[in-house]
């Protein structure tokens, strides 16, 4: 075994850099934070090759004196905190004093800066070697230029994506800060021209709304409801939540004290509020600000500062209530059924929805446990003491007339008996442990979907040209994402060309989709499905999934269509032989079950 030795300083720098600097977007993030901390009113960003060649950020903030400028590349050199108490009350975006030293370790960096008094100075660092400052006249403010990122860390450089892909990530970062500070002007240029230019839009809710319009278009801004709540003095929750037309974009931005976060706990308050208010699993746009005394949050949890801790435990329920109110407003009415449901006499029978559970798990990964068809086991999850239940005590095997073999993929055969059809819409089945209800349309849809999906793998989808191209207003980042996917989009029947700014024109769509479906799908793709948001790899699959789902929905038996007993049996058997019998391609439940326990409690036998 090698003996222990102290690492050379240069290597320590590179290792530390790895924590802060991952790609051009993380450099831009750090430099933007510095500019904002310096009180800039106007920030200009210029990129070459998505930032891999060069990143230049110019601000009109406070600038630095020659003396301070000499220290910026020292690790843990910061003007923002000086003692442990300060750390507890961080009000600036940066405070670790690591960014510039880290960037200086892995790139060529040049900083020109001048404060009110100074005559201006330039400092340079390359691969961790810092040159002494030299005078250079400049007006107040700072320009940081980062060239040849990772020139001395080939392994990292290799992992950079194509220029458009890196640029897109930068745009996403800039959008985040631009939302956090609508009062500041942000502009971003690449070698191909202006990507984004947001003029100062003012403060407060109005300023934020204007900024949303600048970044994502007037259309989105017109579909937002205000969130505004101050649960305690010093704490306020404000911003906007979208109405149901805004679900396609996955535009969720949450800021704590103007710091953009992807905090899981906060997001789950949002998800919960949407599910409970809308009873759906699609989520609207969210631009939410939580402002509270600096002493009440701990942002020192994560090196990239994406998560926080709150000293006040009520914060998550405050968020939940604030968002829920906004959601109610966005629906145009306050949700009455919530209270009416408590009225037992008039309430419908409530039963356990198979599909309900599946739907929740679909948003993560299609859950293996619901996929393998062991119906009984799934349904009796953390079951209440079944021994006390009289109906269940009767061991009952359905009459043998037509046992439908429900093998599923697990192969375990159980028999259910078709009782009949309700209103030409729902198939009723009797099982030994309860009553099953199957929505015939979605069941058939699921069966056809799997068939069509398999076929599409070797067909070329037909494409229908449009009379007039549909113009879609999307953000610059989304336009770039679409550009990355061009080949796959074309292969599945889309023809997309980008116009000026964030507008794209849709000239042809897959013939299997109705125009509005095609538009919606494209916007979803543009914004990048999946919470990671990044990868375009499974694009073709996703496109084909969507085509198959649309075809299946159209071809499937409709509601109010009487089926013979044989037809119902065949359908149920085929359903349970499919890969995912419990949720349709759109995530709607297929099978509902009323357990004996439900029936008993309704009939008052308990």
């Amino acid at each position: 075994m090698a003996s222990i030795r102290k690492l050379p300083e240069e290597l320590i720098g590179k290792i530390a850099a790895g924590e802060v600097v991952e790609r051009p977007a993380s450099v831009v993030k750090e430099l933007l934070e510095n500019a904002l901390d310096a009180g800039a009113r106007e920030i200009e960003i210029e990129l070459v090759a998505g930032g891999a060649e060069r990143i230049r950020i110019r601000d009109d903030g406070s600038g630095m004196s020659a003396g301070d400028a000499a220290l910026v590349f020292d690790r843990h050199a910061t003007s923002k905190i000086s003692n442990f108490e300060d750390l507890l009350e961080v009000e600036t975006l940066g405070f670790r004093g690591e960014a510039l030293s880290s960037i200086g370790a892995v790139a060529h960096v040049e900083i020109q800066t001048s404060d009110d008094a100074g005559a201006g100075v330039v400092v340079r660092a390359a691969g961790g070697l810092v040159e002494p400052p030299e005078p250079r006249p400049r007006s107040r403010g700072t320009t940081v230029e980062v060239a040849s990122l990772f020139f001395n860390v080939p392994a990292r450089r290799k992992f950079l994506k194509t220029a458009p892909a890196e640029l897109r990530r930068v745009v996403e970062v800039v959008q985040g800060y631009a939302l956090a500070r609508p009062d500041v002007r942000f502009s971003l240029r690449s070698e191909r021209g202006t990507v984004l230019d947001a003029l100062p839009a003012g403060n407060g809710l109005d300023g934020l709304k204007r900024r949303v319009a600048q970044l994502f278009g007037e259309e989105l801004a017109a579909h937002l409801a205000e969130v505004d709540r101050s649960p305690r003095p010093g704490t306020s929750i404000w911003g906007f939540v979208g109405d149901p037309t805004t679900t396609r974009g996955r535009r969720y931005f949450v800021f704590v004290n103007r710091r953009l976060l992807r905090d899981r706990a906060m997001m789950s308050s949002f998800y919960r509020a949407v599910r409970e208010t809308w009873h759906g699993s699609e989520f609207p746009a969210l631009f939410l600000f939580l402002d509270l005394p600096a002493a009440e949050v701990d942002v020192n949890v994560h090196p990239q500062k994406a998560e926080v801790r709150f000293r006040e435990p009520r914060v998550s329920s405050d968020l939940f209530l604030a968002i829920r109110r906004g959601l109610e407003i966005s629906l145009g009415e306050v949700d009455a059924p919530l209270t009416a449901a408590a009225d037992l006499a008039g309430a419908p029978l409530s039963w356990q929805g198979e599909g309900g559970r599946t739907k929740a798990s679909l948003s993560g990964s299609v859950s293996a446990e619901t996929g393998d068809g062991n119906l009984a086991a799934e349904l009796h999850e953390e079951a209440l003491p079944f021994s006390s239940s009289r109906l269940a005590e009767i061991s009952y095997t359905p009459p043998q007339r037509t046992p439908v073999p429900l093998s599923g993929r697990s192969g375990a055969v159980r028999s259910l008996r078709v009782l009949g059809q309700y209103k030409g819409t729902v198939i009723l089945l009797e099982g030994s442990d309860g009553l099953y209800l199957i929505d015939q349309h979605v069941a058939h849809e699921r069966i056809l979907y799997e068939r069509f999906r398999a076929d599409l793998d070797h067909d070329v989808p037909e494409s229908q040209r449009l009379l007039e191209p549909v113009l879609l207003e999307i953000s610059a980042a989304e336009a770039l994402r679409l550009a990355e996917m061009a080949a796959d989009l074309e292969g599945s029947g889309f023809e997309v060309t980008s116009m000026s700014g964030g507008t794209v024109a849709l000239a042809a769509v897959p013939a299997a989709l109705r125009p509005s479906q095609a538009e919606k799908l494209l916007l979803e793709l543009a914004h990048g499905g999946g919470d990671g948001g990044g990868e375009t790899g499974h694009l073709r699959e996703r496109l084909l999934d969507a085509l198959a789902a649309s075809l299946a929905c159209r071809a499937a038996v409709k509601m109010h269509e009487p089926l013979s007993a044989d037809q119902m049996e065949a359908m149920v058997a085929e359903l349970f032989a499919s890969d995912q019998p419990y949720a349709c391609p759109h995530g709607r439940p297929i099978v509902l079950k009323m357990t004996d326990r439900d029936l008993e409690s309704r009939f008052g036998q308990r």
């Binding site: 076929d455 037909e462 494409s463 040209r465 009379l467 007039e468 029947g493 013939a511 509005s516």
Partner: protein, 365 residues
């Protein structure tokens, strides 16, 4: 209310009411027809709140008043009765007795106050044209009206008045149909969007006379004899359609309409949801129509054409072409084409209309 009416006259006015009445409505009164007797008439009205129809027939009125009756049942009853005359008497506010020959019915209804007030349409703009002409024009474009609800501004046709002409245009984003004819006394306007249902109801009318079209602030009306159909205008901007009518399609092919329509119909038997396109291969004096469907198989048909240009092919939805060909009333049809990505423009050869054309966007197959 107490009236005597001629059963045949009454039935003639009653039948068109049924088209307006919502079949699956959640507002019960909308499945009703309003009957109202005053001076020498029995007036009828039905509405779905967007489209309404009023009419009347001559009656011997002994007592005025009104009631709303369930449309479908009432029509069935009147239709099944024997005898030339029907007597309608209001028993009380919500009960109507019907007597004809030896039959007597007493049916329940709703008070006339429960029936929605129908819009009165102003006369900001007013033109008159022969109804048969309008009806033919509607028939030539209605197939292109979009049925997709999310694109509400395409769920109707554009009626645009020009100096001395009227133009009607419909599109669903994949194809567009336009027809234009002379009328007297019209002046340029920016067009109004007439909902599909109103067009459909107009098509059912039979009348030799003139129809008067009025445009109010939010509503339109079409009056034809005793009948007046009113509807709410659709809001929204209609596409700039002149732009999509390509002017530089240099390949022109003529066909006998019936031959082309039949060939397309036969070949399209092998299209389906997953492969809906047919392929048109043009070569001098010949067209080959074909379809290939992974589920079903293949079909090919050749037919002769008047075509001189280069050989090329284009994919198309056969329904789009078929709808246009069956709306045409000429012996021959001309298709203007350019290449596989450019719209096909079809128009009649020596047609009656001042202008009639249908633009169809191709499919890639």
């Amino acid at each position: 209310m107490e009236v005597r009416i001629k059963r045949a006259d009454f039935l003639a006015e009653l039948m068109p009411m049924q088209g307006i009445v919502e079949r699956r409505t959640t507002i019960p009164v909308l499945s009703h027809i309003l009957l109202q007797a005053n001076s020498d008439r029995l007036q009828l009205a039905s509405t779905d709140l967007d489209v309404s129809l009023t009419s009347w027939c001559e009656a011997e009125v002994k007592g005025e008043g009104g009631i709303a009756v369930q449309a479908r049942k009432f029509l069935e009853i009147i239709r099944s009765l024997v005898g030339d005359e029907v007597q309608l008497v209001l028993e009380d506010e919500r009960r109507l007795s019907i007597v004809a020959g030896k039959s007597r019915f007493k049916i329940n209804g709703l008070a006339p106050e429960d029936f929605p007030t129908l819009p009165t349409v102003g006369e900001e703009e007013k033109v008159e044209l022969p109804f048969t002409k309008l009806k033919k024009m509607i028939g030539k474009i209605i197939f292109a009206v979009s049925t997709e609800e999310s694109r509400f501004q395409l769920n109707g046709a554009l009626f645009k008045l020009k100096d001395g002409a009227v133009e009607i245009v419909a599109t669903d984003g994949h194809r567009l149909a336009l027809v234009e004819n002379e009328i007297e006394g019209s002046r340029d306007n920016d067009g109004v969007l007439v909902p599909r249902k109103a067009l459909q109801e107009l098509q059912r009318f039979e009348d030799e006379g003139n129809i008067t079209f009025c445009r109010g602030e939010h509503h339109l009306s079409f009056s034809l004899g005793k009948r007046e159909l009113t509807c709410r205008m659709l809001e929204g901007t209609f596409p700039d359609y002149e732009r999509v009518i390509a002017k530089d399609n240099d390949k022109r092919a003529r066909f006998v309409r019936k031959e082309l329509a039949e060939a397309i119909h036969r070949v399209s038997l092998l299209t389906g949801d997953r492969a809906r396109a047919i392929k048109l291969r043009m070569s001098p004096n010949q067209l080959v129509v074909s379809a290939a469907n992974p589920d079903l198989g293949e079909a090919v048909e050749e037919l002769s054409s008047e075509y001189e240009g280069d050989e090329f092919h284009v994919g198309m939805n056969p329904d789009y072409l078929g709808h246009f060909l069956s709306a045409l009333d000429t012996e021959k049809v001309e298709l203007e084409l350019k290449d596989e990505n450019t719209q096909c423009i079809g128009h009649p050869v020596e047609g009656q209309d001042r202008r009639y054309l249908c633009v169809i966007m191709p499919m890639r197959i």
